[in-house]
Amino acid sequence: MRLKGMLAAAALVLLGTLAANTATKADDVGTQDPGVKPYTEALKGKRVVLIPMAMGFDLAQGWAAYLKHEVENWGGVLETRDPNWDVNAHAQAITDVISGAQKPDVLVIHSPDLNSFSKLLKKAQQEGIYVVLVDNPMNFKADAFVGSSWYHLGELEAGAAVKACEGKSKQIGLVQGDAANASSIYQYNGIMSVLKQHSDFKVVAEPFSNWDPTTSRNVTTTMLQQNPDICAIIDFWDGDATGASAAIKDAKLDGKVALVTTGGGETVDCKALEDGTFYAVVMTELAGQSRDMNAVIKFLLQSGVKPGTSTTYIYTLEKATTKADLTPTSCWDLKSLQAGNF
């Protein structure tokens, strides 16, 4: 009996030492980073496809530059498609990518409106592709949305306009985008909610520009003629705000009418703030947005979560930047990004 007990104890001790030895050799717990292996395995070779509304403007080129830099560094592949503002071509590109032989792992979509791609993106999620929406919201529950809370952005713009109108007539003009685009609708709601709190402020005109600078210029000219006492104009995108600023200059009201707008934060925005063309710009912080996009992509690929089963909203932290707030790093430069300087 005693022999059995001693033999069993010896065997146990031997096994224990063996186990301890094997453990120490294989895992080296305590001297190796446990994250590197699962990270590399989960991310290596994964395909990310970015399909913005067009590749030909600053936001899309900025996202593509940042994402390419990051994605290629963690061993993935970034591809882009260019629908050149055509919604049909956009839908076609998404369909091609989803039903192609080599399916992507993550689809990053910049949507033209709230509903067009809901069915397509649902199909993508059923195929096992993660869907990340950027900048323009949709009514569709994607795996992640990275961008501005346009409602809050509108609130910030209205706040800047109210500040600009201190001591002047309390008349504000709006140059909206178009009636179907989420960013335009939500901005409007945000602006009106702030202006409701300031009952002495009045919105005297709110025409649409259809995101076109010539239309923006024409409607702003008329707005200023009909209401020469306007103290601030809020234009819903810096792309067409160039038209509004030209109209203000023509009416010889630059300096008297404050132009508030929102943009991606490329160098043109900072230049416009410096020379007084814009009074305030709420920048959508493209650099930060791109980093958020990359982080959420990394998370989704490692999480093991099934596409379509969870939704996350990552709203960017924004503020209304005026000339007084400008620093050398307030804006990002597309040209230097494309030259590879990050």
Partner: protein, 336 residues
Amino acid sequence: MARVNFFRNLTQERIVFGLALAVFIGCAATLGGFLQADNLIAIVRSVSVLGILAVGMGIVIIGRGIDLSAVAIMAMSVAWYLQMLQNGVSGGEALALTLAGVVAIGLINGFMVAYADVPAIFATLASGAFVYGFCRSQLIAQDATPVPRGNWIDGLGEIPSRIDQYAQIHLAAIPIEVFFFSGAAFAAFLFLRFTKWGRYVYLMGDNFLAARNMGIPVRPMTVLRYAISALIAFSAGILTASSLHSINVRVVNSTLLYDVILVVVIGGIGLSGGKGGMRNVIVGALLIGIMQNAMTIIDISNVYQNLIKSTILLMAIVVDSVVNPRDEQTAQQGDI
């Protein structure tokens, strides 16, 4: 008898002019601020680019043809010019290259229509798409190309105030676009009415075969018309760049081309050619300008603006087809 005479004289141009006048009087009576000089100038200015393109299109259509590449040439030539300036090419060289390219496209259009007998609608549709695709993919980097600071295009807007300073004429209130538009319309009017080639354009449009039999050089004239249209489109692009300090080539995919054809046709220049003149272009442009201005003042939502605009334009066409029905004489081999 007098009533019949009145209706017989009611051409489409007069109908549209009457409609424009009616809308104008209605707005002047009911809308505050409509009749101010500033607003009237703004109306003309808002349609000046449209009007210049319509002048070029009018010359082509009167001679029987159509130029669907006008907007593409307008945007892409100026975008290429500005991109070259950004890339460091010297101003004179860039301008020379651009003008050469514009004239070349005009010549190619004219050659295809006149010598290769390709119907104008297809030839210019194809060349427009080619110009857009080629320039967008090979020659320019982004949709929106800004005008470099201090460039002469930027200085165009200053011309009226400069003249005001030197010549003591009070012109500064009138923007440069209005001058461009009226200048282009006037030059085209002189060309069409008082030169021999203007006569040829009308004759060619009226009856192409008869004109050819008469000995009119129809094929070189066709080439000339498309080259003129291309150059006018280029000047419209320079004007756009001057007013917005940048050119955005997205305009090629917009409805601008159809608006140009609408201005020409609504004003009374028939698509089958041979009739009409610059007065029609001005009347058509003014109608559209007055309507858009009135709708902006009333603050009508965008959704309804197109509806109202198209209803008024449809009314003009319907009234014209009732008053001037087509018969053997007026309907020539269909349009275009």
